[in-house]
C-alpha cells in the first residue's frame, strides 16, 4: 500500500519543529527514525496532514553519560547507543536491551526519543528507561518540562505528551551497579512476549535502589513498585524473591494475542522475575 498524501516539513531547530506541530493542531506526526511511523503511513493506518522530519535538527543526538548518569539526545540512534562505551560502562542495561531491538537496519535508524514517544507496550526502550528511573525533557512552543518515564507512558501507543511537544532528551540518574534482563520472543528480536528488567545496587549484604519493571503483562511497561519495595534492603533470599514474584504478578493483567495467551504470560512472568532476581543476587548480567 501507498501512504495517503501529507505535507512534509523539515525544521532546522526544535523551535521550528514545535511551531510546526502546534500549527497542525494535533494532525502532524513527528518523523524521527520512522521505523514505526512509516509502516503506519504506508498501510494508511495513520493519515497525518503533515510529517515533521526532525532528523536534520542539530544537537539532538548528543550522548553525555558518565558515572552520575546524564543525558542522551532524543535523536540518538539505537546503533549509536549500542556502540557507546560510556553507555556500556554506566548504563549497561541500556546497551543490553538495545541488542534485543529489531534488526540491524531498524537499529541504524530507530531513536531513543522516538521509541519513548511511540510507547510500544512491549518496547525494550520504555522498559529499560522505567527500570533506570529516566525522565524525558520535552519542549513545546510554551517552554520545556521534564516528565518521568513512568508518567510519560499512559497506555499502548499513548503518552502524556501534548500534540505540540517534542522529546528533546532523555535524562538518567546515577545507574545502579547491577542489572538483569530477560526477554521472551516468538522469533529473533521480535516484539516481546514478555520482558523483565531489574536494577539495584549492592550495599554490603543487601540490595538497595531496587527497581523491577516488566512489559507484556499490562497495557504498557510497568514498574512493579510493591515488588521493588519488598526487595529493598534485603539480601534477595529465595523467600524474598518469591514474595516479589507474587507482588509482581498481583499488578499484572496481560491479554491474549497471537504471540501468547494471558495465562502463559503470567506463568512466564513468575519464572523470569524469579530468574532475573536470582541472577541479580549472583552479580547480575553483563553487557
Amino acid at each position: 500500500m501507498k501512504a495517503a498524501p501529507f505535507a512534509y516539513v523539515r525544521p532546522s531547530s526544535v523551535a521550528e519543529a514545535v511551531t510546526a506541530l502546534a500549527e497542525h493542531e494535533g494532525m502532524a506526526r513527528v518523523l524521527a527514525g520512522g521505523q514505526s511511523l512509516v509502516p503506519m503511513l504506508n498501510m494508511r493506518l495513520m493519515r497525518p496532514t503533515a510529517v515533521v522530519d526532525v532528523n536534520r535538527i542539530p544537537g539532538l543526538d548528543t550522548v553525555a553519560i558518565g558515572p552520575e548518569g546524564g543525558s542522551i539526545g532524543s535523536l540518538t540512534r539505537y546503533s549509536t547507543l549500542e556502540a557507546s562505551a560510556d553507555i556500556a560502562a554506566h548504563l549497561a542495561l541500556l546497551t543490553t536491551v538495545t541488542r534485543h531491538i529489531g534488526d540491524r537496519q531498524v537499529r541504524n535508524r530507530g531513536t531513543i526519543g522516538g521509541s519513548l514517544a511511540q510507547a510500544d507496550p512491549v518496547g525494550e526502550m520504555p522498559l529499560a528507561c522505567l527500570a533506570l528511573g529516566a525522565s524525558v525533557l520535552v519542549q513545546s512552543v510554551s517552554g520545556t518540562r521534564e516528565v518521568p518515564v513512568h508518567e510519560l507512558l499512559l497506555g499502548p501507543y499513548w503518552t502524556s505528551l501534548e500534540p505540540d511537544e517534542l522529546i528533546v532528551e532523555v535524562r538518567f540518574p546515577t545507574a545502579p551497579s547491577l542489572f538483569a534482563f530477560s526477554e521472551v520472543t516468538r522469533r529473533h528480536n521480535d516484539f516481546a512476549v514478555l520482558a523483565v528488567a531489574v536494577t539495584a545496587t549492592r550495599t554490603g549484604e543487601g540490595f538497595t535502589g531496587v527497581r523491577l519493571a516488566a512489559s507484556g503483562v499490562e497495557a504498557t511497561a510497568i514498574l512493579a513498585e510493591d515488588a521493588s519495595a519488598v526487595l529493598e534492603g534485603t539480601s534477595l533470599s529465595d523467600a524474598e524473591i518469591a514474595a516479589a514474584v507474587e507482588a509482581t504478578v498481583d499488578v499484572a493483567d496481560p491479554s491474549d494475542d497471537v504471540r501468547a495467551s494471558a495465562e502463559y504470560r503470567v506463568h512466564l512472568l513468575r519464572v523470569h522475575v524469579r530468574r532475573a532476581l536470582e541472577r541479580l543476587r549472583d552479580g547480575g548480567d553483563r553487557v
Binding site: M1, P39, R44
Partner: protein
C-alpha cells in the same frame, strides 16, 4: 551412499556436476526482471477494494466520489465483471465435488475477508488507493464459519446454500483390508485428534501482473508472476472469452512461488478486463497486506487417526479420518491432495483407511503449497508411532526398523493404488541415527543438564510423491492439465542451442538443470545452451513447475529432443566431413569429430549454420536443426528419507531449542548436487517455520485474520533456524528418465514429527501428548501442565 556435494570429480557439464547457476549473475547484479520492474509506456495502475468481513452481502456500492478524483481512469464492480467475463475455472478440482463458481469481483455475497469487490485503475497506484478511500460499499455481514470443525456442526451457517446442502464439499474414502477389525484385535492402539495449522507459502515477491491489449493485433500480452504460464493462458482465455491465440503470457523472473503461483487469481482477470477496455497497459502488484488475505493459504486440517500394533510391535492397521479446509472458494489447485496417498508412509501396513472430508469455511481459499498434504500425514503418523513405542516400551528406532518396507518389498502398492517404486528406507534411518549418535543420546541419563534443560531425540521417516503418475491418473481426478513437459531445441548460428520451455524461473534453477540434462544427453557443453523460459508464444505447450515434477518430466523431453537433435547434427557433420557413418561421430566440446579417435572435426557453428541456411546439407535432410519432444512419465517416483532431531527443553517454561537436525534423503540420481542441497535446505526452512512458528490465526468471534502482516506472521529469520546436517543416499528410480526423483518439497515433510517426538522424548512422560502444530513453547508448557493435572509429572 555418496556425499553428493563432494562429487565434483565428473568431467563435463552433465549429470551429477555442481555447476554454478546461470540464473545467478543477473539476479546478483539486480538485473532480474520481475513484473514490477517493468515500466510500460503509459501504464496505468490497479488497486482493489476488498471485503473486510469473513462473509457479507454486498448491499450497495457508491463509486461517484472516486470517479471524480483526478487521475482515476476506470472503476469496475461485480455486476459489470459478471457481464464481461466467465467465472474463474479450477485446474485441479477436488474429485467428486460440485462447482462453486465465482467471478473476479464478488457479485452478491463476498465469501472471505480479502475477496475483491471493486477494482480501480488510475494514473498511479497511490491515486488508485486514494480512490478506494472514496468508494462507499455497504456490507451486510453474514454468519461465518471459522474452522473445519465448526463447519460441520449441525447449527453451522450454510455457506453455499445454492450449491451445497452442508458445508461438506465431498468425502473421498480409500481403504484396503480390514482396518477396523485389525485395530480392534491389536494389542496396542494409539489414537488421537491432530490439528495442523493454516500457513501460507509467502514468496518474497507477491503476485503481479501487467496486461496490455493491442486492439489491431487482437493480442493480449500478459506479463505474469507465475509457475505455470501456459495454464495461466488457458484460464485467462476461458475467463475473458478470448481465443487462446489472442493471449500471450510472458513470465520472466519470479520471486518465489512454492505452489502459491499456480494458475490465475481474480486480480489477473481484472487487470486484463481493464486493459481490454482502456487500451493501455494495466499493472497490478500485490502488496503484503493484500497477500495475507487474497493469495492462497495452505494446510489446515484436523485428523482423527489411529495406529495399531501387535504385542511384538508389528503395525497392524492405520486409519486417518481427516477434515481439510478448502477455504471459502476454490483456488486453482484447491486443498491439499497428497495426505491420503502418503499416510501409510514407508511402512509395511496392509490394513489401512483414509477418509478425506473437504469442508468450506469463511476464510481465504486454500491452494497448493510445497508438501501439499504430505507434511500433514507425516506428522500424524510419525507422532502416533512414537506413542505406540511408548505403550510397548519399545525404542522408536527399533520399532520403525521393524516395520519399514524393505528394498525387496518394493515396488509396493499402497491402499490408494500409489506405487512406491524403489529405495532402501531403513538405510536412511540408520544413517540418520548413526550421524546423530542416537544410541548415546538414548542411553544418556534423563535428568536435567547443568542449564536445567532436558534433552531428547526424535525421529521421522518419510516419503514424498514426486511427479504425477501419468495423464490418465490426472484425468481420473478431473485435473485440467497433463503430466508432460515439452521442450524445443533449436540450433543457432553461433554453435549454441536455444532450449525453449514453457517452464518459468522462480528459484528452482531449471535454466541450469535443463542445460545440464541436455549436456548429459548430447555431450554438448552446458555453456552452449541458452534456456528461454516462460513465453507461451514461443514454447511448446507444457504443464509447469509444481509437484516436484518438472525435472522428471523435462528430463524425458530433453532426452528425446536431444537425441533427435544431435542425430541430425551428426548426419550433417558426417556429410560435411565426407564420412559415411554418422554414428562414428560425437560432439566434442564445440566441435563434432570422430567418437573414438583423432581425425578431422567440424565446428558446431559450421554444422548449425549449414543446417539453418539449408545450403550444403545432405539431400535427404530438411533444412533447419530443431527438435521438439514431449514426455509424459508413466509413474510417479517416490523420494524418501529419515530425519533425527535433538532438542533441549526448559521444563519450566516449555521453551526448547533444536540443537541438531540430521536429514538423510534420496532423490535418486541428482542432476546438480549443489542445487539439490539448496532445494532441501530451503524446503526444510519452510518445514521448520510451519512446525514451530507460522500460523494464520483467526478471531473465532469476528472471523477476521489476526496476523495478516509480516510483523505478526512469524516467518523464520536467519537467527531462528537450526543448523542442518544433510546426508544423501542415491537409489536411482527405475520409473523415471535418468533415474531422477523430484526434490523440491521433501524438506517440508519431516520437521514437525521429528521435533514433537524429540520434545516428548526429552520430557519422558507418557502422559505428555503434543497433537497440534505449530509446536510452540506455550504448547509444550500446556502439555506439561495437562500431564501434571492428569497425575503425571508434578
Amino acid at each position: 551412499m555418496v556425499d553428493l556435494l563432494h562429487r565434483h570429480t565428473a568431467a563435463g557439464t552433465g549429470l551429477g556436476v555442481s555447476l554454478p547457476r546461470v540464473e545467478d549473475d543477473r539476479l546478483l547484479r539486480g538485473e532480474g526482471r520481475f513484473v514490477d520492474d517493468l515500466h510500460p509506456f503509459q501504464a496505468l495502475h490497479m488497486a482493489v477494494l476488498r471485503c473486510p468481513f469473513p462473509r457479507a452481502q454486498v448491499v450497495s456500492i457508491d463509486i461517484s466520489a472516486a470517479l471524480e478524483l483526478t487521475g482515476v481512469e476506470q472503476i469496475l464492480v461485480g455486476s459489470q465483471v459478471a457481464e464481461r467475463s466467465e467465472p474463474i475455472s479450477v485446474l485441479r478440482p477436488v474429485p467428486g465435488a460440485p462447482d462453486l463458481p465465482f467471478f473476479a469481483l464478488a457479485t452478491d455475497v463476498a465469501h472471505f475477508e480479502g475477496q475483491p469487490v471493486v477494482s480501480v485503475v488510475a494514473q498511479s497506484r497511490a491515486i488508485a488507493e486514494d480512490a478506494l478511500d472514496l468508494i462507499d460499499v455497504e456490507f451486510d455481514p453474514l454468519p461465518h464459519v471459522s474452522d473445519v470443525v465448526s463447519a460441520m456442526e449441525p447449527d453451522a451457517p450454510l455457506l453455499h446454500p445454492n450449491e451445497l446442502a452442508t458445508n461438506r464439499l465431498v468425502t473421498n474414502n480409500q481403504e484396503r483390508g480390514n482396518p477396523d477389525g485389525e485395530l480392534a484385535a491389536s494389542a496396542v492402539v494409539a489414537s488421537d485428534r491432530f490439528f495442523v495449522n493454516r500457513v501460507t507459502a509467502l514468496p518474497m515477491e507477491g503476485r503481479a501482473v501487467v496486461a496490455e491489449w493491442r486492439q489491431g493485433a487482437r493480442e493480449l500480452i500478459v506479463q505474469h508472476s507465475t509457475q505455470t504460464p501456459h495454464l495461466v493462458r488457458k484460464q485467462l482465455a476461458e475467463a475473458l472469452r478470448l481465443d487462446e491465440g489472442s493471449i500471450r503470457v510472458l513470465t520472466d523472473d519470479v520471486g518465489g512461488g512454492f505452489g502459491m503461483k499456480l494458475g490465475i487469481y481474480p486480480e489477473d482477470v481484472l487487470a486484463c478486463l481493464h486493459a481490454l477496455e482502456l487500451g493501455r497497459p494495466v499493472k497490478w502488484v500485490e502488496d503484503r497486506t493484500e497477500h495475507f488475505r487474497a493469495s492462497t493459504h495452505a494446510r489446515e486440517s484436523v485428523h482423527d487417526a489411529s495406529i495399531g500394533a501387535t504385542a511384538d510391535g508389528r503395525f497392524t492397521a492405520m486409519t486417518n479420518a481427516y477434515a481439510t479446509d478448502l477455504g471459502a472458494l476454490n483456488s486453482p489447485f484447491g486443498s491439499a491432495q497428497l495426505t491420503s496417498i502418503t499416510f501409510g508412509g514407508p511402512y509395511n501396513v496392509e490394513h489401512i483407511r483414509t477418509e478425506r472430508l473437504v469442508t468450506v469455511t469463511s476464510k481465504t481459499p486454500i491452494g497448493a503449497y510445497r508438501g501439499y498434504g504430505q507434511p500433514e500425514s507425516n506428522f500424524v503418523r510419525e507422532v502416533l508411532i512414537d506413542r505406540i513405542a511408548r505403550q510397548l516400551g519399545r525404542d522408536p528406532l527399533d520399532l520403525r526398523l521393524q516395520n519399514l518396507l524393505r528394498p525387496e518389498d518394493l515396488p509396493w502398492t499402497n491402499h490408494t493404488g500409489a506405487i512406491l517404486d524403489s529405495g532402501d528406507y531403513a538405510a536412511t534411518l540408520r544413517m540418520a541415527t548413526e550421524r546423530v549418535g542416537y544410541d548415546a543420546l538414548r542411553a544418556a541419563g534423563r535428568g536435567p543438564r547443568a542449564d536445567g534443560r532436558l534433552t531428547g531425540v526424535g525421529l521421522s521417516c518419510f516419503i514424498e510423491r514426486t511427479g504425477y503418475p501419468s495423464a490418465r491418473f490426472l484425468a481420473n481426478r478431473g485435473s485440467q492439465f497433463g503430466a508432460h513437459e515439452g521442450v524445443t531445441l533449436r540450433a543457432n548460428r553461433s554453435g549454441g542451442i536455444d532450449l525453449i520451455t514453457g517452464v518459468s524461473s522462480f528459484g528452482q534453477s531449471s535454466e541450469t538443470t535443463f542445460a545440464q540434462l541436455l549436456s548429459e544427453v548430447t555431450g554438448i557443453d552446458a555453456g552452449l545452451v541458452r534456456v528461454h523460459t516462460g513465453d507461451t508464444g514461443a514454447s511448446p505447450v507444457n504443464t509447469g513447475g509444481f509437484a516436484s515434477r518438472t525435472t522428471i518430466a523435462a528430463a524425458g523431453a530433453i532426452e528425446l529432443a536431444g537425441l533427435e537433435f544431435v542425430g541430425k547434427a551428426l548426419r550433417i557433420a558426417a556429410w560435411l566431413l565426407e564420412i559415411d557413418d554418422p554414428t562414428s561421430l560425437a560432439v566434442r566440446g564445440t566441435d563434432i569429430g570422430p567418437r573414438d579417435s583423432d581425425g578431422p572435426t567440424v565446428p558446431l557453428a559450421d554444422v548449425f549454420s549449414t543446417a539453418i541456411l539449408g545450403q550444403g546439407i545432405p539431400p535427404s535432410e530438411a533444412p533447419g536443426l530443431e527438435a521438439t519432444a514431449y514426455y509424459e512419465p508413466q509413474a510417479a517416483a517416490y523420494a524418501f528419507g529419515s530425519a533425527a532431531a535433538v532438542v533441549a527443553v526448559d521444563p519450566e517454561t516449555g521453551d526448547f531449542t533444536i540443537e541438531r537436525f540430521v536429514m538423510v534423503h534420496d532423490c535418486g540420481v541428482p542432476v546438480n548436487p549443489m542445487l539439490v542441497e539448496g532445494q532441501v535446505l530451503g524446503a526444510l526452512a519452510q518445514g521448520f517455520g510451519a512446525a514451530l512458528m507460522e500460523e494464520l490465526r483467526y478471531d473465532p468471534d469476528t472471523g477476521q485474520l489476526l496476523n495478516g502482516s509480516l510483523l505478526d506472521y512469524f516467518a523464520p529469520t536467519a537467527a531462528d533456524l537450526p543448523h542442518v546436517e544433510l546426508l544423501h543416499t542415491e537409489v536411482p528410480s527405475p520409473v523415471t528418465p535418468l533415474g531422477v526423483r523430484g526434490v523440491g518439497e521433501i524438506g517440508t515433510i519431516p520437521p514437525g514429527a521429528a521435533i514433537v517426538n524429540a520434545v516428548c522424548d526429552a520430557l519422558s512422560d507418557p502422559q505428555i501428548e503434543l497433537s497440534r502444530l505449530p509446536v510452540t513453547p506455550e504448547a509444550v508448557w500446556r502439555a506439561l501442565a495437562d500431564a501434571a493435572a492428569k497425575g503425571g509429572r508434578a
